[in-house]
Structure formats: structure tokens, C-alpha cells
Amino acid sequence: MSMTITEKILAKSAGLKEVKPGQLIDAKIDVVMCHDVTTPAAISMLTEKGIDKVFDAEKIIVTPDHFQPAKDIASAELHKRLDTWVKRHKIKNYYKIGKAGVCHALLPEQGHIRPGDCIIGGDSHTCTYGAFAAFSTGIGSTDLAAAIATGKLWFKVPPSIKFVLNGKLTKGVFSKDVILAVIGRIGVDGALYKAMEFVGPALADMSMEARMTMTNMAIEAGAKNGIIGFDKITQKYLDEHLKDKKPYTVFESDKDAKYESVYEFDCSKMEPMVAMPHLPSNAVPIGDCAGKAMDQAYIGSCTNGRIEDLRIAAKVLKNKQVAIRTIVVPVTPAVWKQAKDEGLFDIFYDAGCVISAPTCGACLGGFMGILAAGEKCVSTTNRNFVGRMGHPKSEVYLASPATAAASAIEGKLTDPRKYI
């Protein structure tokens, strides 16, 4: 039977020859990602139920990131619970402060993501890792507890939707613009319970960083997972990042695999996009919203806080001054150091930006750049729900790092192409 890449990985993980959409399976989990918001609750549940164990101390990757460094006493307590548990179970891969970074950037960077793996994490943006030809999905604390204790989890095999990205992106248009255009077309539940598989020639010009921006936002269309097949670009990234050189399995969709639907996009005609409040699907071309006054620009997050994103922002901001509060959040310590070494911090400093330690920070309204009532923020993050970055009457406009940086200079939504 022909299968998609998602179906093949799930079949392998369930120890089955084949699986079909709708089928319930028990899958073996290869990697469990844990952070400071959802994991402490999972730990408490396991302790209360008397099953305080971990299925494999090497396959659980832990980093505090949401409220890190601790923003208040309550979050310090969460970190303490996480820390105590990690030590009790001698969990090997623990990235604490100094090494801690935003989980979805940190795990690939530190070589924990391998093609063909079945990965879960206590965070909705765990779908990011699908950029590496892996099955990866976000779950809540109870699922996380079950996976930590047993290394297994139930799944319903999702039907797949194919997104064919034709053409070539033009100057000033990035993978963030592509994914906003995709979500704009299908809606925030356009892929509800489904797999979003990205294919097509436009991927050939996208780095792994750029691809992760797209799979990261699969959840914003309601998807279970986002996935991109393996190619030379994947291989190069893995060669540079995997510490464990044991072979991995590359799965690819069969030519006659079944898709619930297929969408085609011409990337060469795409423009910089902005998702207007309060849904990621409210995406419009910059031409339709340019000129709207902003109070803050935020460049960071698991969507767009990687080195490539900071380079793009720096290119726009070089020898310019920002007109509004601009917060730059390098996503991991390694990205932070690289940005510093490349001189990007000087550019940000000279332009009048503030540079933060790696954290999820204000992306989810945690800290480090919270909005007051009525304020508007152009942000490279992934969600613009009501109250997402602060006051329920504040507004978030999602865009690429280039658009956010250009808008920071002018203090209003701005087409980045004139600065690139």
C-alpha cells in the first residue's frame, strides 16, 4: 500500500507494516521534549500516581525556556521542581541556564532531532522538528507524563494535506511570508487533526532554519504535524549538528500516496505578509496594511529567532535608528554568541534595540516586552491571539524578521524590500 512520509514514520513507530488515516496506534517515542511550563505538572502527576519513573534517561531532553531566567517566585518554583526531577532521574540532556534556549531551536541545534524519529513535546510548537523528515507533535502534561514513564503514546493516524511550493522566493520575501500565506488560505483550522506536508522547488532555496519557521506554524492551522522530506540541505545540517553519528532512516512519501487535498502556491508571486490581529490566518500582503502605527517590534521566538533571522534583521537595521521599542531575543546561547561574534549586536545596539537573553519571553506574554492596553506590536512570533503578548486590548501583528525590522525603523508597518 502506498503511504505518505507521516504514515510511514507512524507505521514504523507502531511496529506495523502499514497504517491508514484514522487508525489508532500505540507509537514508540524516540525523543521527549520537556520545558518549564508543562513538565512540572507532568512530574507531579507521576509522583502522585506512584509511577515516578522515566522510560529512558537519554531520550528525554529538558530545558527551561518560557519563564527563563525565572521571572518571578512562582516560575522559580517551577524551575526548581524541574531541576529536582532531572537530578533524581539522572536525565542526561539537561540544558539549564547558560545552556538553556528556546526548546524548538535548541533541540535541532544540539543534535537531538533525527529523520524518521517519532518526537513529542509538551508544547504545541513541537511540530517544528518535522522540518527534519521526522514525525513530531505537541501534547499536554498528561500525555507528557505517560510518554515520560512508558516511552509510548496513542495516536490517531492523521490524513495528509500536500502543499506544493512552486517558484522561487523573491528578494524580501521569506519562509515566514509563505507560511502566513498558507494559513491565510486554509484558515486556523484548515488542517485540523491533519498532517501538513510541504514539497516543491521553492524548498531548495530554504535553509533548515527557514524550513523550521514553516513547520513551526503548522499548529497555527490546527495541524497535528508539519513535515518536509529529506534532501541535501537536511543532510548538511545534520552532518554539522548530530553528535551521535549512528545511522538514521530516511522515509519519503510514495509517488501515489493519498492526500486529502493538495494546495499549490507560486512563491515567486508572493509578497511580504502580515497577520493582523487576532488570528494567524488574518494574513494580508504588506501593501494592504503598510502605514499602520506600531509601538513595539519583537524579533525572536522559536519561529524566527535563529541566527539567519537575526542576520536578516541586522541587514535591515544597519546604520539606521529604530523609531519604536525594539526587542531582539536570540533564541539559544549559541545563536546569542554567534550574533555577538558576527557583530550583529553592534548593529542592534547602534540602531537602539535592546538585546535579551534567550527566552520565550514576551512571545507568549510571559515577560521581557509585555504590551499595555491599546499598544501594537509587530512580531516575528507565531500567535496573535487576544492578550497573547500582554493586555487583552493590545494587538500583535505577525511578520518576518525583515518586515519587523523595517517597521521598527519607520514606527509603522513597512515593506522591507526598500531596505534590502
Binding site: 509511577i51 518571578d72 500567535r383 497573547r388
Partner: protein
């Protein structure tokens, strides 16, 4: 009998159900104090034990935070009836042993403040005020089994975890 709080909107998300500024705790009673705060700041003042939330498509979209289910359960809400649920919220509810109901027409046939009775086994919502019966498909057997076992962890414990 339970009172229905009807929010006709689609895509009521986890940031509205429990804003991230309260995620520095996983204490259900603390979370319950802020249930639905950014959607309806008076919700927790109005809601009585056993009451029901009724909504449109894609309820609970956004974050994986199970805190959203805990906040609702902590506010002693009996169940949420929606046209559809976001994937992670749906899983989280089942895993917590919290029965939720998918119904295509409940948000049309129930008005805010209506008195409601639910027969979970038969899959019938009785709108006592509106004198209407709304059928729904009960959750799949495996989900009911998890709920009856008291949630996923009790369920896997029984299976010998």
C-alpha cells in the same frame, strides 16, 4: 440542571481560556480564578458548579497547555460543547478524564442562559428552556475507557505501567 454559557465564536483559544500570565502555576484552583478571563472577565463570577460552556468551531486552539482544561474543570464546569475542538485540547480533556462534546448544532440550538441536561450514554443534550433535544455522537470507546479509568495515567497504570 445546568446553565449554558454560549460563546458563538469559533477559535476560542487557550490564551483566552487561561492567559499565559497565569501559567506560572499548575494549581487548578488558582487557574480556575482566571478561567475564560480574556474572553469574558466576569465568567468566574457567574458560573456555578455543573454549568456548561457552549462554543463554535476549533475550541481550545493554540497552546498545548493542559492548564486550559484544568482552569475549566477547576471552575467546576461540567463540560464544554463545541462544533469542533482543537487537537491538543481534545486529547488533553480525554487524558484528564474530562468529557467534552462535539455537536454541530448545539451552539445554534442553545441560547445563552438556557437550562440544559445531558445524557452522556445516549448522546442527547436536552435544552429544557428551549424545549429541544440535540443528539451528539458520544466519544469513541477508547476515549470513554480512558475517562472511566479516571484519565490516561490511571489507564496506563491499569495496563501495567
Amino acid at each position: 440542571m445546568a446553565k449554558a454559557y454560549v460563546y458563538k465564536r469559533d477559535h476560542i483559544n487557550t490564551d483566552e481560556i487561561i492567559p499565559a500570565r497565569y501559567l506560572n502555576t499548575d494549581n487548578e484552583q488558582e487557574l480556575a480564578k482566571h478561567c475564560m478571563e480574556d474572553l469574558d472577565k466576569d465568567f468566574v463570577k457567574k458560573v456555578k458548579p455543573g454549568d456548561i460552556i457552549v462554543a463554535g468551531e476549533d475550541f481550545g486552539c493554540g497552546s498545548s497547555r493542559e492548564h486550559a482544561v484544568w482552569a475549566i474543570r477547576g471552575a467546576k464546569v461540567q463540560t464544554v460543547i463545541a462544533k469542533s475542538f482543537a487537537r491538543i485540547f481534545y486529547r488533553n480533556a480525554i487524558n484528564c478524564g474530562f468529557y467534552i462534546i462535539e455537536s454541530a448544532d448545539a451552539s445554534e440550538k442553545i441560547a445563552d442562559g438556557d437550562q440544559i441536561e445531558i445524557d452522556y450514554k445516549k448522546g442527547v443534550i436536552k435544552n429544557v428552556t428551549g424545549k429541544k433535544e440535540i443528539k451528539f455522537n458520544p466519544l469513541p470507546d477508547f476515549a470513554v475507557e480512558i475517562i472511566n479509568n479516571g484519565g490516561l495515567l490511571e489507564h496506563i497504570k491499569k495496563a501495567g505501567a
